[in-house]
Symmetry: C2
Subunit: 227 residues, 2 copies
């Protein structure tokens, strides 16, 4: 049966480019490498952050901004690991913008922090549209969500610097084809690295930690700071 | 370690109440029972719709509005089953509103249709904020997303009339406690029915189909139409 395709509305995005650039530069001069972590609800952002803090806690001082519409369950989980964390509530908004992020950063003690993560609101649409002033954008896609997501949420794949495919321990039970995913990703972002991992079994975590170490080193070189 | 909670912004929602009421009444007088189906990306909305059309295709004429930021993969899948379907593109927006939905409905042939589904944009935040003119709101939550979602996305649970927990065939491999989920749901929506199902194995599908049949009957009674 045939069907129509109807474009129902154009998106008008508020320009927060200037505020994002300001925040990015301020973080750079403070030596804080800032990562915007984005994903759907339940893709495993908090679990990945917990594993990362556990693995790199001796090497780097890590801080986390937890953005949620409501609750503080994630902030509590991160806090229990001894990392500096602040909970941001978006008041119903589906994303963070640079102004909200800057206010979060200003409310935290970031002295001596090497890596700051923003765990963005769980969502593949709105967070992709707003530069929060981060140095890198990392997106998580979990195997249960399916391999067709690059076609449905192209902007998120386009703006990200790294794709982490999470929950790969569940590959045997879901109909998820790596080839299909990668073909979809390539249409949006030909050069983005893709890493596969399971925070549960630990498989693939090392490649993510190595990516992070390399990025911190490169950031410090750019920032003119000795490694 | 302690952490702060910062309220970063209040949400200002455009009022689309009047347009939603108009559309709801127009559908009612046309005898079209209209359901707004909401969930995260990859929770299984399209698969549920496919199973529902396959199971009830002889009993009811079913039509579907597929809302996506981009692509038409879901519309194609539904169309292959012979159901009437239209693809709506939101132009980057993370939700549908009543005006966009009304334009979608106007562009479809709804004559003789018993049940119209809107497959909303995959997202637990924005779709909860907009009345699209539906008679019932049904939300899907998949087991891999986790049992803590009512705390993080309270509005979605508050505004829904039915919660379908999908992918229950994966319960053995995820740390998902039904008791924890239900306790969370109860804090937001004490009376909402919760049904557990797997579109893959078919477990629990009958309860969903029965809910749908009951709702259609009740709708027709209210609409003064003979069943």
């Amino acid at each position: 049966m045939k069907y129509d395709i109807l474009e129902t509305r154009e998106r008008v995005t508020a320009d927060n480019t200037r505020e994002a650039a300001r925040l990015r530069e301020s973080m750079r001069s403070d030596g804080v490498f800032f990562i915007n972590l984005m994903a759907s609800p339940g893709a495993g952002k908090t679990t990945l952050l917990k594993r990362t803090i556990q693995a790199l806690g001796e090497e780097y001082r890590i801080a986390v901004m937890e953005a949620d519409v409501d609750s503080d369950v994630d902030a509590r989980a991160i806090s229990e690991l001894g990392a500096r964390v602040i909970q941001l509530h978006s008041g119903g908004l589906c994303h963070m913008d640079a102004d909200m992020t800057a206010r979060g950063a200003a409310a935290m003690d970031l002295s001596g922090v090497d890596i700051l993560f923003l765990e963005n609101i769980g969502n593949l649409v709105c967070p992709a549209e707003f530069d929060v002033g981060s140095h890198r954008r990392v997106m998580l896609l979990s195997v249960p969500e399916g391999d067709d997501k690059p076609l449905k949420y192209p902007l998120m794949f386009r703006v990200s610097d790294l794709l982490l495919v999470s929950k790969i321990d569940t590959l045997p039970i879901f109909d998820f084809q790596k080839e299909a995913l990668e073909a979809g990703v390539r249409t949006q972002n030909p050069k983005m690295p893709i890493l596969y991992l399971s925070a549960k079994t630990g498989e693939g975590l090392d490649a993510w930690l190595d990516w992070l170490r390399r990025e911190v080193r490169a950031f410090r070189t750019r920032a003119g700071k000795e490694d």
